[in-house]
């Protein structure tokens, strides 16, 4: 593939107009309009995300909920939304702008801050990618149990197999949480007792836990913490006061805020290293009109997090929650299993297995595309950051480049 050189192409789109005073007013109005539209679009799009959840709740068909809040498909919509907003943001910021304003207050501080947040978000994207891999791993374990328990009649062999897989699954889900609050990386030698799951029969799996390293030790450094990262991203995130000359401080603030929101949501939903304290920080001020749907989502998700954090959870992703619930229940069933299973019990189990099967299918179908989307997000952020840096460099006179 021949190398292509895009360096000039983007910058050619920028028109730096320093001398066109006559058209200033018209353009100024146009710019204001663009800003207004941007805000409105952000509000609208996030409203849709919020309402997804609300309509589903009223119809009581949760099992068939297309985009239940925090489900895989909802996340796909969330990331889509973010990418749309990002495109518009870039258009507002860069095209047809007098880029000299980038080197003056307040943008000279706000933009580098925003770009810094972007870099942190990139790290989170990487962690999320690994997190999704982990979830995939869980769904494969769940699939073993589904396959085993779908067989008829339900016999001990199948039940034991399912139990073994489910115990491995549940321990793995818990291992991450426990580990994250202790030294990461020593998991290989750790033996986990599964006493709280009931009697550990002879076929249950002390060996498995010993060597299960589902931690993130291979992926991130020991000191990296998702929640600290989010916290760092939300420092300096202050709503601009009105009356600022370029009018660009507001879209930058909006974009930064929704970036932090998206990252925060992802970290809460998908297993990530070190999430303690996630619920505590980052709240958008309530007086911002554009932010209402985002704040609504924040509230809901924040509440969920608080509830689940106490019990300990692998992540708020709906599919993970279902697995946690159903797997525990099935393990209980397995512990108390006696052949033959009564009809009522069989039906109950069949229902749960079907639910689990459904979730596995959703994960099989949805996690791959979600990972790709996260990757796309990564790329987009990298590209935008490079473009903005380029413009800033060109415009701000390089005073410090003493090369030698």
């Amino acid at each position: 593939m021949p190398p292509t050189d895009h360096h000039g192409s983007f910058l050619n789109r920028i028109s730096i107009r320093r001398n066109q005073i006559t058209n200033m007013d018209v353009n100024h109005e146009q710019e204001l309009e663009e800003l207004e539209l941007f805000q409105k679009h952000v509000t609208d799009r996030f409203m849709q995300l919020l309402q997804q959840n609300q309509t589903q709740e009223t119809t009581e068909t949760r099992a068939q909920a297309q985009s239940q809040l925090l489900s895989i498909s909802w996340f796909q919509k969330l990331l889509d939304t973010y990418l749309c907003c990002e495109s518009e943001f870039k258009a507002v910021l860069i095209i047809n702008r007098d880029a000299s304003c980038f080197s003056k207050a307040p943008l000279d501080r706000l933009l580098p801050d925003h770009l810094d947040r972007t870099v942190k978000a990139l790290d989170i994207c990487n962690a999320i990618t690994h997190g999704i891999e982990l979830v995939r791993h869980w769904s494969r374990l769940a699939q073993i149990a589904v396959d085993a328990l779908e067989q008829r009649p339900i016999v001990e062999g199948h039940v034991r197999r399912a139990k073994r897989a489910l115990n491995t699954l549940l321990t793995s889900m818990m291992v991450d949480e426990k580990e994250n609050s202790q030294l990461v990386g020593k998991s290989a030698e750790r033996m986990w007792s599964i006493g709280r799951r009931g009697a550990a029969g002879p076929t249950t799996v002390n060996h498995n836990q010993k060597f299960m390293t589902r931690s993130f030790s291979t992926c991130v450094s020991k000191s990296w913490s998702a929640s600290k990262q989010i916290q760092a991203m939300s420092t300096n995130l202050v709503a601009p006061r009105g009356g600022e000359p370029t009018g660009l401080a507001l879209p930058v603030y909006i974009m930064s805020s929704i970036l932090v929101f998206v990252m925060w949501t992802l970290v809460a939903a998908v297993p990530s290293p070190e999430r303690a304290g996630l619920g505590a920080h980052f709240q958008l001020p309530r007086n911002l009109t554009w932010a209402h749907p985002v704040i609504g989502l924040q509230d809901k998700i924040g509440e969920e997090w608080k509830k689940k954090e106490k019990k300990g959870t692998a992540g708020l992703l709906v599919e993970i929650q279902v697995i946690e619930k159903v797997a525990s229940s099935l393990v209980e069933f397995a512990d108390g299993f006696e052949f033959p299973v009564g009809d009522e019990k069989a039906d109950e189990v069949a229902g749960q297995v079907a639910e689990l099967a459904d979730i596995c299918r959703k994960m099989e179908d949805g996690l791959g595309p979600l990972q790709l989307q996260v990757r796309e997000l990564f790329h987009r952020m990298v590209r935008s950051r490079a473009e903005v840096l380029d413009v800033m460099d060109q415009v701000g006179k390089i005073n410090t480049s003493v090369l030698y």
């Binding site: 021949p2 190398p3 292509t4 050189d5 895009h6 360096h7 000039g8 730096i16 320093r18 001398n19 870099v119 942190k120 990139l122 790290d123 990487n126 990618t129 690994h130 791993h137 374990l141 699939q143 073993i144 009649p153 016999v155 001990e156 062999g157 199948h158 034991r160 197999r161 897989a165 491995t168 990386g185 002879p202 076929t203 799996v205 060996h207 060597f211 299960m212 390293t213 030790s217 291979t218 992926c219 991130v220 450094s221 990296w224 990262q229 990972q371 790709l372 990757r375 990298v382 490079a386 840096l389 380029d390 460099d393 060109q394 415009v395 390089i398 480049s401 003493v402 090369l403 030698y404």
Partner: protein, 582 residues
Amino acid sequence: MGSPETDRITPLEQAEQIILRWDSSKPHMIFNSDNRHDIDNYLSAVDLIQQSTNGKIAENNGQSTKVNTLVQIAMARLEDEFRNILISHTTLEFDSVNLLTESDEDSVNSNGSRISRNICEFDVIPKDHINDLRLIAKRMMMSGYFRECVQVYGGVRKIKLDTIFKKLGVEKLSLDDVQRLDWESLNAKISKYIKAVKICVRILFASKKRLCVQIFENLGYEGDEDAGDVCFMETVKSAAISLFDFAEAISISSRSPEKLFKIVDLHDTFIDLLPDIEDVFCSKSSESIRVQASEISSRLAEAARGMLYEFENSVLREPSRVLVPGGTIHPLTRYVMNYITLISNYKQTLGELIVSKPVTDSRYSDDLTMPDMDFGDHEGQSPLALHLIWIIVILQFNLDGKSKHYKDNALAYLFFMNNVHYIVQKVKGSPELREMIGDSFLKELTAKITQASTRYQRATWVGVLYCLRDEGLHATGSFSSGVPRNALRERFKSFNAMFEEVHKMQTLWSIPDTQLREEIQISISEKVIPAYRSFLGRFRTHIENGKHPEYYIKYSVEDLETAVLDFFEGCAVSQLSRRRSL
């Protein structure tokens, strides 16, 4: 063999007993014993049980239930055995990696040319044990327990990868961290990484792949994927992604020119590795890894381009106004020339990456002036060469601007001359650079040197030589009332003063290049000495006939000749000596 009791039970019942004997609660491992007999027995038992499940599944009776349970017990046991073999026999790998770290560099780092398929593989697990693993895997797959098998395999092998990564120095830095590192540290890390990534792809991953193939070959498929591929991906996917993260972080880091060559090194590494990566990660499920690797290469290429442009910008805008004393070589000149010499050494890769001509029109500025450059007379030269020429052009432009800060015009010209001369010397000193720059441009540069030298000389010496001019000193009439003596005396005085002044100042000036210095000194001599000699010859008697001739004729021709040799020493020389060697 066997007690009378065992003779009375069926083979199937015998098998049941064996399996029940070895349920998961037993801490010993079957496959650990040297007793092959035990192993064979167990495997046969498993086979028997498996066979007996065929056709019995539909039957809802106690027998089939029992068989199912036995299968599960056996599978659980085999899972543990499988894990145990893997754990006990994967120590070899790591030491071999150490050994290869040194020699690997030479074999994979061939300058410029691409080594295809330099994949080394080496045995990680002894053949016997691989065989055992195969035996186990086969049974697990036949009973539909492949997923469990994959989980165990992946679980164990991942740990090893982590340890090896650490030893290879693959650090887990976040993107954020990388952006904040200073260049020296980052440079070192990149060097280490380049070695490590080659080892990881060509040796580590390749041998892991090979092992998976050895164990799972021809054992079947999982969905539409080969069993070996599935296991392999289970083991390395996360690690591969993490491995590439560092390169990714580098590719998005800030574009400062000093990083250019390291980035190109890293880019070349990835380009070289791409065929190997395609080889090792050839399955459908590993597409994302291949894509990531190729994306990284592109991004590194873009980063390299960006850095070159950044460099050009910096050279143009380099703002320092600090005057180098004595008009000597400016650090900027040295830096730039070293930089582009290095670029010419990297011309193979950079030549491929840089495909567009330099941007020579002013993009942003009404107030920032830029040199004019028409590349019309440079048809047929590669874009990279054009960039190098452009860089020299803007370097000169910058130097010209800097020279104007000297209060003394003569010094400004000298400074310019020195620096352009340095540029020319550097170009001549590097065959690659010279070839790219081209001789016609070199001629242009040389002409500039001459021009600057002429300007310098004119600026300094016109005034001095003016003192030695003829007009106004013609003898009119008879001997005694001929040449106006006062005027003559004034002339000598001015000449002396001016020459002394020039001597005082310009000995402090510098022409670092010896040959150039001599040339200029000779050129000065050629102008000044004959003029002085002839002046002296014509008018000395008039002075000597008057009072205090020594006030006026202070220097002999030889004195001046010696004095000229003091010029451009770059340091103070003792005051002009005078000798009455007349």
